[in-house]
């Protein structure tokens, strides 16, 4: 009976969405907004090779700011709900092979994350991806050395400082009269080189640091309530 009701609701959902689905014939071109973003003068103005990065950091920079704020709020609420309990577990020792491999791999993975968000305007990648890669390095650290004490202050201060610098760079563009989150506050440089897209690599690096610190913070919260009370 109940499943019948659910099926009825799903059928209603499908009937609402079906015209949308059947009228979709594959998009034949870009929308007007995207054509504006991909026009020649705008590409020369922003000077970023990766158009997705250009959209995320400059054109839709306010979205990114809101997204980072949501992530911060999520981390704060999770910290409020999961109070730290004393860890009294007796853990099985990790084998020596795993520890050595982790010691070798953690710096490499962190370096890969930093590479991804510094080169965000040239290759696929950017702040969010690099932050996620850094958080996975932190996960490996948690798994390999479970008894190590992590300084909570470090993640929090890293996150606050990078958020502050991010908002500061954004406001700096407004002060110079260019616009909030404009990338022209630094010289543009030659197209396709590392120091080319103005402030985009700098802003995206701080976004990456902030996202990485926040995700690591959330994961650390989930790890610290694994106590055996």
């Amino acid at each position: 009976m109940k499943k019948l009701l659910v099926l009825f609701i799903l059928a209603a959902f499908v009937s609402v969405l079906y015209p949308l689905y059947s009228s979709f014939h594959g998009s034949t071109g870009l929308t007007e907004v995207s054509q504006f973003y991909a026009s020649k003068e705008n590409i020369e103005k922003v000077n970023s090779q990766n158009l997705v990065t250009a959209v995320v950091v400059t054109y839709r920079g306010l979205d990114t700011l809101g997204e980072v704020t949501i992530l911060f709020l999520t981390a704060a609420i999770i910290a409020f709900f999961l109070k730290k309990e004393s860890d009294k577990r007796t853990l099985r020792k990790n084998s020596e092979i795993f520890k050595t491999a982790a010691k070798l791999l953690i710096p490499i993975i962190t370096m890969l994350g930093i590479y991804i968000f510094i080169n965000g305007h040239l290759t696929p990648g950017g702040g969010f991806q690099g932050g996620a890669v850094i958080a996975s390095a932190v996960i490996l650290m948690f798994l390999a050395f479970p008894n190590m004490e992590f300084s909570h202050k470090f993640f929090e201060s890293l996150e606050s400082v990078s958020g502050l610098v991010y908002v500061g760079l954004a406001a700096f563009g407004a002060i110079l009269g260019l616009g909030f989150l404009d990338n022209a506050i630094l010289p543009l440089g030659k197209f396709g080189e590392l120091f080319s897209a103005g402030a985009i690599p700098v802003i995206y690096s701080f976004v990456g640091l902030k996202v990485g610190a926040e995700l690591s913070n959330i994961l650390h919260k989930f790890k610290s309530v694994q106590a055996d009370n």
Binding site: T90, Q129, A132, L215
Partner: protein, 95 residues
């Protein structure tokens, strides 16, 4: 044409994985199947010419969210059990 076949196979696999995620009895298998849905989705994004999205999905959808699910499952299992029996090999000192 090959892309179409591969994409169709990926779609069928994703639907099967989501079915497993909804209906399998063991929660661990369900969580792993959710991670697999994310992994196949990232391959699909690569076919749809979206490498940025593919990277994000591969790192987050199949890596970090699975780990968070496992932390929560572990904690809930401990709450249910209230102390676990020590087995013989655990207590042997390593040195």
């Amino acid at each position: 044409m090959e892309f179409k076949i591969i994409t169709t196979l990926l779609g069928i696999l994703m639907l099967a994985m989501s079915f497993i995620a909804i209906y399998h009895k063991k929660m661990i298998v369900a969580v792993i199947a959710t991670g697999a849905v994310g992994l196949f989705a990232s391959i699909m994004y690569l076919f749809l010419a979206a490498p940025d999205v593919a990277m994000t999905e591969a790192a987050i959808g199949s890596g970090l969210s699975t780990i968070i699910f496992f932390y929560v499952l572990n904690r809930i299992r401990q709450n249910d059990k209230e102390g676990r029996e020590s087995d013989e090999i655990d207590e042997i000192p390593n040195k």
